[in-house]
């Protein structure tokens, strides 16, 4: 697994290149509100059609391994303990102790204060920015609501990066976005990106959570995706997993379209991470199909696509066991989360 190093540019550089030097709230609004509207019916039809592809056994076996390689194995509970994080890391390193050919997951995703325990538990398996091993993703910026002052959000981020997080999952201020204060959301993302800078000048990967369940319309999702990319996000992520609906196929398809358009426009590849509500292999395979047919198969790599999930992994392992042994397996044969 390789992580494409984020382009070392001043965080607002993308927006300046795209919108010109006189970057103001007005120019940002004109750009975002000038994006064409989303054909909701067409989008949902397309997503539904992508969900009906017939996947044959050999492709399914490939897809199951690919899904595991793309998982951000997540625990984001108020009741998390160091012990819970250690068992999560153990599972990330050896998803199925009965079958050592099982690939490892891309990353573990924890709260910022749990990062040191994850670093400790991963030991030599930690990628530490080498692109080889398991990453640690930390949610920051007053996750999941994002309701805190910018100072607190930046401290939260810097803290997690200093503790060893390779990736930061930030939430946008949905209140500001929905009231049309795009400039504020933009500045927040730029500032958080700056806080992701390590001492050696490299940046932790920044995933921007749009929380699409609170954005109400597909048009808003498209605008927020553009905004997050313009402000310097390396990944756009659907949801925190704490709001229903979390990730849906149409929303992910829409975000993939934005990412594809950005790539056509600039040649730069942005990642997408659907998170929350993807529990079965069947659902996850639909996402893989959507990625391959929208952004392209080169997006099916951990540096460009992730699943934010916890229970998905067990279902994938059960399916893997079914393919290997020829009979259905059960929850007694995978670890309890």
């Amino acid at each position: 697994m390789t992580l494409v190093n984020p382009v070392v540019l001043a965080p607002a550089a993308r927006a300046i290149q795209m919108l010109g030097g006189d970057l103001t709230e007005t120019s940002l609004r004109l750009h975002l509100e000038g994006l064409s509207g989303v054909d909701a019916v067409g989008l949902e039809e397309r997503a539904a059609a992508l969900g009906t592809r017939s996947i044959k056994t050999a492709s399914k076996a490939w897809a199951l391994d690919k899904i595991i390689e793309l998982i951000d194995l997540t625990t984001l509970e108020g009741a998390d303990t160091p012990g819970k994080v250690r068992s999560l890391v153990a599972k990330a390193m050896t998803p199925d102790p009965g079958d050592m050919t099982t690939p490892r997951v891309a990353a573990v995703c924890v709260y910022g204060d749990m990062v040191p325990y994850a670093v400790d538990a991963l030991g030599a398996a930690h990628s530490r920015g080498t692109g080889n091993g398991i990453n640690i993703a930390a949610v920051a910026t007053a996750f999941p609501s994002g309701r805190a002052s910018l100072r607190v959000k930046l401290a939260d981020t810097a803290d997690a990066v200093a503790a060893g997080a390779d990736e930061i999952d930030m939430v946008i201020d949905r209140g500001a976005f929905l009231s049309g204060r795009y400039g504020q959301v933009f500045d927040d993302i730029v500032a958080v990106k700056e806080a992701c800078r390590r001492e050696n000048g490299t940046y932790a990967h920044l995933k921007v959570i749009l929380e699409t369940g609170e954005l109400n319309t597909y048009d808003n999702v498209r605008r927020a995706s553009w905004l997050a990319i313009l402000a310097g996000g390396d990944f756009i992520k659907t949801s925190t997993g704490k709001v229903a609906p979390a990730a849906t196929l149409p929303v992910t398809l829409l975000m993939l379209q934005v990412v594809r358009d950005w790539h056509h426009l600039t040649g730069e590849r942005i990642g997408v991470k659907p998170a929350g509500g993807i529990r079965t292999s069947k659902d996850a395979i639909k996402y893989l199909v959507t990625v391959a047919e929208t952004a392209g198969e080169e997006w099916l790599t951990p540096s460009l696509f992730r699943f934010g999930a916890s229970s998905l992994l067990n279902d994938v392992l059960l399916q893997r066991q079914k393919i290997r042994t020829g009979h259905y397996s059960g929850p007694d044969y995978v670890t309890v989360d």
């Binding site: 066991q321 020829g326 009979h327 259905y328 397996s329 059960g330 929850p331 044969y333």
Partner: protein
Amino acid sequence: MSRLAVPKTYKLYIGGKFPRSESGRTYEVATAKGAFLANAAKASRKDARDAVVAARAAVAGWTGATGYNRGQVLYRIAELLEGRHAQFAGEIASSEGISLAAAAREVDAAIDVWVWYAGWADKYVQVAGNGNPVSGPYFNLSTPEPTGVVAIVAPQASSLLGLVSVIAPAVVTGNTVVVVASETAPLSAISLAEVLATSDVPGGVINILTGSPAEIAPWLASHADVNALDLAGAERLDWVDLQISAADTLKRVLTPVTGVPAPSLDRIVAFTETKTVWHTKSLI
């Protein structure tokens, strides 16, 4: 004026719902004389898998209910069966080719068996459990507990009495079941599902599949999340192979029975596991 016949298209009963087969397949059910009677869903291995998932999800709630409560719920089903007596008798008469009077006696017998088993819900533990003599200041108690998910191949000839005689002993203790109904005469099974859907039995406790037992049973026998296998109606299948694949995951297995299994406490206890606990006497 003659009326247009309205033949039914039956579906499966999984997790308290009536889905079509995932495979989209159906087969024609005929009377004993070969006339068309209805269409029934032909379950696939994936329907069996879904049914096991539903049954597993229902285990905690059903096992957790008190024996007294389970008895009440099961007894209520007997009441509903009584209310649909004529419908069941008609279906049995047409699909098994026996007289209406004989079919009515079958229904009576099925209801009696159901009531008999329902009565055991809050009694089997006392009869099958034990206080064990030990040489120490302890109570030592062995109690039977439900084993979990039971997969059943129902008797193929007796469509209602046979079905009831295998479902009731498994669910009375708190197990949940996935039952493959009689292939040639599935109507009683689906009418029973309609009874269950309007009763107090939680969805997923009893799941009924129609179709070919020869096709579905091997998947249930080898399924790692099934705890026990009742092969009552598998006489004509390659049941030794089923037993062998069930052994891979240490399932409890009951071997085929000719005709209808007689009501017995043994069938109840067959799908339980004995838990033995020690408890100190020192507080007395």
